[in-house]
C-alpha cells in the first residue's frame, strides 16, 4: 500500500468517526426532545443547582493556578458572595421591577443585621429571654431567640422600616427619591455608630458593634430525630462553612423563587406598569403609593434577611460594614445584570461579589506577576470602586439593558417608553432622528 492509499484510508476513517459522532449527537438531541418542552428549561437550572450544592465537595480538588483568576472562591467566601446576591435580587425588586432608584439599600442591610444583634446576643444584659436558641446556657443574659425566627423577624422589621421610609418619600420624583434614600442610607449607619449612649442606654455598642451573635442550629430534638446539626459552629472546619453555605443557597433559591412569582403576580404587573408609565398606570386604577410602598417593603424584607444572616455568619454586626459604597455596589449588580432580569442580576451579583471578596485580589496578583513590571506594581483592590465606576459608566453608555436583558425592559428602552425611569433627561432630537416630533412636551408631566 502506497502512501497515497494510506492517506485515503485515514480520511475514510475520519469520515466514519465523524458520522458516528453525529449519530451520537442525534441520539442526544432525540433524548432532549423527549423531555416535555415545559421541563426543558429546568435542565440547565437543575444542573447549575446540583453543581452549586456539591460545590464544597469538589472545590478543594480544583486547580489553584488558573490563569488570571488563580482560584475559585473558598466555601467561606462563597457564603458572603451569595448573601450579596440575595440582596441584589431584593434590590432588583425596587429598582428593576418598580423603577424606584434606591441609593440607600445599605440601610436595610444594617437594620437586618442589628435586629439579629438585638434578638440573638447578650447585648441587652438587663433582660434574660430565651426562645429556641441553641447552644446558649439558660443563665446567659440578653435576648436569645432561635436564628430561624430571627431571620424572619429581621425581614419583617426591615420591611416595616422600608414602609416607614417609603411613606413620606415615595411621592417624590425619581432623582429626589434617590437623594432621600441616600440620606437614609447615611443616617442609619451613623445612628448605629453613635447610639451607644442614648441617655445612658447602650443600644448598638457604638463602633465596636454587637458581638458575638448566636449561631443557627436545629437543637437536640431535631438532631436526634433527623440528624440535623445541633449548632452550626459546634462542629469542626470545614463543616460550619458548608452548613452556612447550604443554608444561604437555600435562602437565595427561595428569594429567586419569590422574586419570580412576585414578578408575574398582580402586584408585579402593577410595578412594571408603574415603571413603564406612572401616569398611565395611575389612570388605569393602580394605587400608586400602595404599590410602590409594597415594592419598598418587599425589597427591604430580603435586605433584612440577608443582613441578619450575615450577622449570624460573622457572629457580629459592626457599623463599618454599612458604607454608602455597599449601596452602590449592589446597584452596580442590578445595572450590570439588567434591571428587572433575575438571572442577569444573579450572574452579575455573583461576579461582582466574587471580585469584591477574592477576585480583584487574585487578578491583581496575577497581573502583578505576569503583566506589570516589578517596578510598577499596582494594588488593584484599592481601586475597586473606581473599577465599578468604570463598569457603571461603560454599561450606561454602551449597553444600558445589562448583561442578560429582561425582554420587556429591553423593549421599553428600544421603544422609549416614558416611565419615571425613562423620562428623558433632555429631549433634543434632530429632525431626522427616529421619534422626532412625536413627543413635543419634554416629559414634564406633573406626577402624582
Amino acid at each position: 500500500m502506497g502512501p497515497r492509499a494510506r492517506q485515503l484510508r485515514a480520511r475514510v476513517g475520519a469520515q466514519k468517526n465523524r458520522v458516528a459522532k453525529s449519530a451520537r449527537l442525534d441520539q442526544l438531541a432525540a433524548q432532549w426532545r423527549r423531555i416535555p418542552s415545559g421541563y426543558r428549561g429546568w435542565v440547565p437550572f437543575l444542573i447549575l443547582v446540583s453543581l452549586a450544592i456539591t460545590y464544597p465537595f469538589y472545590v478543594a480538588s480544583l486547580p489553584t493556578n488558573i490563569p488570571v483568576i488563580l482560584t475559585l472562591p473558598t466555601v467561606h467566601d462563597t457564603v458572603t458572595i451569595l448573601v450579596f446576591v440575595v440582596m441584589a435580587v431584593g434590590l432588583n425588586v425596587v429598582v428593576g421591577y418598580a423603577g424606584l432608584l434606591d441609593l440607600g439599600y445599605v440601610a436595610f442591610y444594617a437594620i437586618g443585621a442589628y435586629t439579629a444583634g438585638w434578638l440573638a446576643s447578650g447585648q441587652f444584659q438587663q433582660i434574660n429571654f430565651h426562645f429556641g436558641a441553641v447552644g446558649v446556657g439558660s443563665s446567659e443574659t440578653g435576648i436569645h431567640i432561635s436564628i430561624w425566627l430571627v431571620l424572619l423577624i429581621a425581614g419583617v422589621v426591615t420591611a416595616i422600616g422600608g414602609i416607614l421610609i417609603g411613606l413620606p418619600t415615595l411621592r417624590l420624583r425619581g432623582d429626589y427619591l434617590a437623594i432621600v434614600t441616600l440620606g437614609f442610607g447615611e443616617i442609619i449607619p451613623q445612628f448605629v455608630r453613635n447610639a451607644d449612649d442614648l441617655h445612658g442606654f447602650d443600644l448598638t455598642h457604638g463602633t465596636f458593634g454587637i458581638s458575638p451573635i448566636d449561631a443557627p442550629g436545629f437543637g437536640m430534638t431535631l438532631h436526634n430525630a433527623l440528624g440535623l446539626p445541633i449548632r452550626y459552629d459546634d462542629s469542626f472546619p470545614p463543616t460550619p462553612d458548608r452548613l452556612f453555605f447550604w443554608t444561604v443557597l437555600g435562602i437565595l433559591l427561595l428569594t429567586i423563587f419569590c422574586s419570580m412569582r412576585l414578578r408575574d403576580s398582580r402586584l408585579g404587573r402593577a410595578w412594571i406598569a408603574i415603571r413603564e408609565d406612572e401616569t398611565a398606570a395611575g389612570a388605569m386604577g393602580i394605587p400608586l403609593m400602595r404599590t410602590k410602598t409594597w415594592a419598598y417593603a418587599i425589597g427591604a424584607f430580603f435586605g433584612g434577611i440577608a443582613g441578619a444572616y450575615v450577622a449570624t455568619f460573622n457572629s457580629g454586626a459592626f457599623p463599618s460594614q454599612f458604607d454608602f459604597n455597599i449601596s452602590i455596589f449592589l446597584l452596580c449588580m442590578v445595572i450590570l445584570g439588567g434591571m428587572g432580569s433575575i438571572w442577569g442580576v444573579v450572574l452579575a451579583g455573583t461576579i461582582l461579589a466574587w471580585l469584591n471578596v477574592e477576585g480583584l485580589a487574585n487578578i491583581g496578583s496575577w497581573l502583578n506577576a505576569n503583566v506589570f513590571p516589578s517596578s510598577h506594581q499596582i494594588d488593584v483592590p484599592k481601586y475597586e470602586f473606581g473599577i465599578y465606576g468604570v463598569i457603571i459608566v461603560l454599561m450606561m453608555l454602551f449597553r444600558p439593558v445589562g448583561l442578560i436583558p429582561e425582554r420587556r425592559r429591553k423593549r421599553e428602552i428600544e421603544e422609549g417608553t416614558r416611565g419615571s425611569l425613562d423620562e428623558p433627561l433632555y429631549e433634543m432630537r434632530g429632525a431626522d432622528e427616529p421619534g422626532a416630533g412625536e413627543r413635543g412636551e419634554s416629559g414634564r408631566i406633573p406626577r402624582g
Binding site: G99, L101, L103, P168, T169, R171, L172, R173, G174, D175, Y176, A178, I179, V180, L182, G183, F184, E186, I187, Q190, F191, R193, N194, F324, I328, L331, I335, K382, Y383, F385, G386, Y388, G389, V390, I391, I392, V393, M396, L397, P400, I413, S420, L421, D422, E423, P424, L425, Y426, E427, M428, R429, S442, R444, I445, P446, R447
Partner: protein, 332 residues
C-alpha cells in the same frame, strides 16, 4: 396642619438659639462667625450643583469629587510649583495664592467639562435615570483618580494666611484666615451673578435652562452652553478647593461627604436657584457650626451628618421647591 408643624419647629429652633445665645453669648457669636465662614465654602460648591441642575436637571454626583481633586491639585500648585510656605514674603503669598486660584479654577473647569463631554453628552436622549447612575459612576472614577495620584494620606499646606485676630470684642474673635474666605467668596459671587444676569453667555444659559428646544431654535448652541455651565461649576469647585485647603486637610474622599452637604444646601435653598444655593449654604454652615459648637442641648459633631441629611429629607418631603424656589410640578 403641615404649616403649623413647620412653624412650631422653626419656633423651637429659634428658642433653642436664643437660650444658647443668652447662656453662652461668647460661644454663640464665635460659632456664628465659624458658621458663616464654613457656609461660604459650601456656597461655592452648592452653586456648582445648582447651576448644573438648573440647566440639565441632573444631580451631578461627581461634583464633590471634582472639588476634592481640585483641592488636592492646589496643594501641588502651592507647594511644588510655587513653593509657598509661611516664611514667604507677604507679597509672594498674595501673588502665589492669586495665581493658584486662577490655575485651580481653570483645572476644575477643564475636569468638569471633560466629564460632561465624555459621559453626559452621549446620554442627552437617554433616560434620566441612566444619566443619574452615570453621574454616580463618574463620582467613583474621579475619586479613584484622586486616590491614584495623591494616595490615602491627608494633604495640607503650611498656614499661609495668618490666624491672628482682626478684632476681639469681649471674647468674640475674628481671624484673618476666616476673613480671607469671605474676601474671596464675595467677589466670586458678585462675578457669577454678573455673568449669569448681564452677559450674553449668561442669557443663553438661562434660556437653555428654561426651554432647550426654543433656545436651540433661537440660535443658541445648546451643547456649548451646557459645556460652559459645567466649566463654570468646575471653576467654582476649584476656588472652593483652594479655600478648603487653606483652612483644612484634604483627602481623596473628602469630596463625597462635602458634596452631599453642599447638595443639601442647594436643595434647601431651592435647587436651580442661585441665590437660594448661597442662602442654603450659609444656613447649613450655621446649623453645622451651632450643632458642633453650642453647649446647651446640642447633639454634637457625631450627629452632624445625620442632622444635615434629616434636614435634606424634611425639605424634600415638605417643601421640595426649597426655601426660595418656586413650586414646580416636578417638585411635588
Amino acid at each position: 396642619m403641615l404649616s403649623v408643624v413647620g412653624i412650631l419647629f422653626v419656633a423651637l429652633l429659634v428658642a433653642w438659639l436664643v437660650v444658647n445665645a443668652i447662656k453662652t453669648p461668647t460661644d454663640f457669636f464665635n460659632v456664628l462667625l465659624i458658621g458663616i465662614t464654613q457656609g461660604s465654602v459650601y456656597a461655592l460648591i452648592a452653586l456648582g450643583y445648582t447651576l448644573v441642575y438648573g440647566i440639565l436637571q441632573l444631580i451631578n454626583f461627581a461634583h464633590g469629587d471634582v472639588f476634592a481633586l481640585s483641592g488636592l491639585f492646589s496643594t501641588t500648585v502651592i507647594l511644588s510649583w510655587f513653593g509657598l510656605s509661611d516664611s514667604t514674603a507677604a507679597l509672594g503669598i498674595v501673588g502665589g495664592l492669586a495665581a493658584t486660584f486662577v490655575i485651580v479654577a481653570a483645572f476644575g473647569a477643564v475636569v468638569n467639562s471633560t466629564i460632561e463631554f465624555v459621559a453626559y453628552r452621549r446620554l442627552r436622549n437617554a433616560p434620566r435615570l441612566a444619566v443619574l447612575i452615570t453621574a454616580v459612576g463618574m463620582s467613583f472614577i474621579v475619586q479613584n483618580i484622586s486616590l491614584a495620584i495623591y494616595g490615602v494620606t491627608a494633604h495640607s499646606i503650611p498656614p499661609l494666611i495668618s490666624s491672628n485676630n482682626i478684632f476681639m470684642i469681649g471674647g468674640v474673635h475674628y481671624a484673618w484666615d476666616a476673613f480671607f474666605v469671605i474676601l474671596v467668596t464675595a467677589p466670586v459671587l458678585v462675578l457669577l451673578s454678573w455673568l449669569v444676569k448681564s452677559t450674553r453667555q449668561g442669557k443663553s444659559m438661562r434660556a437653555t435652562s428654561q426651554d432647550p428646544e426654543a433656545a436651540a431654535i433661537m440660535g443658541i448652541d445648546v451643547n456649548r452652553t451646557i459645556s460652559f455651565t459645567f466649566a463654570l461649576a468646575g471653576a467654582l469647585a476649584g476656588v472652593a478647593g483652594v479655600l478648603y485647603v487653606v483652612e483644612f486637610n484634604i483627602r481623596y474622599d473628602t469630596g463625597f461627604q462635602l458634596g452631599l452637604i453642599a447638595f443639601t444646601a442647594a436643595v434647601l435653598g431651592g435647587i436651580g436657584n442661585l441665590t437660594g444655593a448661597v442662602v442654603g449654604a450659609l444656613l447649613i454652615g450655621l446649623i453645622q457650626a451651632f450643632n458642633e459648637g453650642l453647649s446647651w442641648f446640642a447633639p454634637g459633631s457625631d450627629w452632624t451628618r445625620s442632622l444635615v441629611f434629616a434636614i435634606l429629607i424634611a425639605i424634600l418631603v415638605f417643601r421640595p421647591e426649597g426655601l426660595l424656589g418656586e413650586r414646580t410640578p416636578e417638585g411635588a
